[in-house]
């Protein structure tokens, strides 16, 4: 059996780089986080819960990251605030979904909640250290994006060391039913 926490960390990091790549965003993981540049920021928080684990995923970056990465953004046309907020929530939702689908193969399953998106200046994350599974940043050419996974595993949870459980449908490729 695998160390559950290590598995969560490695699969989330993998999910993050895949998610950015799928959105055509070149990004590298930064393990020693730096303070996000001052200014307008967005944090999107998405909780999840199952009998094996409960927690939340937070994605945080500058407003300009979400404006620039919005899938239908055209040139310099400004996006409405609610459109940017919706994208931040969907960005986080798709990242958590990718992570969830990976973890199915290791025997972990959970239900995903509804994203909450917050605007602010100089946002600071404050959490319970023991609940922090991992926290890192991804650096694109112009932005830093913070990813934090909080989680509490139920006592005695065991996960497969290798993908042995259900294989999830892969992203992007339509499956005929």
């Amino acid at each position: 059996m695998a160390d559950p926490k290590q598995l969560l960390v490695s699969r989330l990091r993998e999910s993050s780089t895949e998610h950015f790549a799928a959105l055509c965003l070149a990004a590298l993981i930064v393990d020693k986080p730096t303070v996000l540049p001052a200014g307008r920021q967005i944090a999107s928080v998405l909780a999840f819960s199952g009998w094996q684990v409960r927690g939340s995923l937070t994605v945080r970056s500058s407003v300009s990251f979400f404006e620039n990465s919005h899938p239908t953004a055209i040139g310099n046309s400004p996006l409405a605030q609610d459109a940017v907020a919706d994208w931040a929530g969907e960005f986080t939702n798709q990242l958590l979904g990718r992570f969830k689908n990976k973890m199915l193969a290791y025997g972990l399953d959970f239900q995903v909640g509804i994203p909450v998106t917050l605007y602010g200046e100089n946002l600071i994350e404050v959490g319970i250290a023991t609940d922090t599974v991992t926290s890192y940043q991804l650096r694109t050419s112009n932005h830093l994006v913070g990813v934090t996974l909080l989680g509490r595993l139920a006592p005695g949870v065991e996960l497969f060391a290798e993908p042995s459980g259900k294989a999830a449908v892969k992203p992007g490729v339509p499956l005929d039913l």
Partner: protein, 124 residues
């Protein structure tokens, strides 16, 4: 007259992405933001050629909506494509039993989405 596609998702970004992709392929789009609205829109658009539907939505989820659309042999001819972050084979099986014809995990590839719509609904 362009064929009509109904797009049901609680994310305005996803609705816009899908609408742009399919509009540029020549289809006419009607949107809904949750399963309750989606059910109403499907009922109001008897001429719809296809539905694209999320799974996790407020008010009524996508799988429940598909089951209601297809209940008692109704709208048997209407293809429904699930577009969702979920990839659990158990949910896919549930969707197939309810009458859905395809499952796509987000983020979608625009060319493959259009190809799927063309295959199930015909050209615009």
């Amino acid at each position: 007259m362009a064929k009509k596609i109904i797009v049901i998702d609680d994310s305005s970004t996803v609705r816009e992405q899908v609408s742009v992709a399919l509009s540029e392929a020549g289809y006419q789009i009607v949107e809904a933001a949750d399963g309750v609205q989606g059910l109403r829109v499907v009922e109001q658009n008897a001429d719809a050629a296809l539905v694209i539907c999320d799974v996790n939505m407020p008010a009524m989820g996508g799988l429940e909506m598909v089951a209601k659309v297809k209940a008692n042999g109704k709208r048997e001819e209407l293809p429904i494509v699930m577009l969702t972050t979920e990839g659990d084979p158990a949910l896919v099986k549930q969707a197939k039993s309810a009458g859905a014809k395809a499952w796509i995990v987000k983020p979608f590839r625009r060319d493959l989405l259009v190809a799927t719509v063309r295959k199930l609904a015909g050209a615009a």
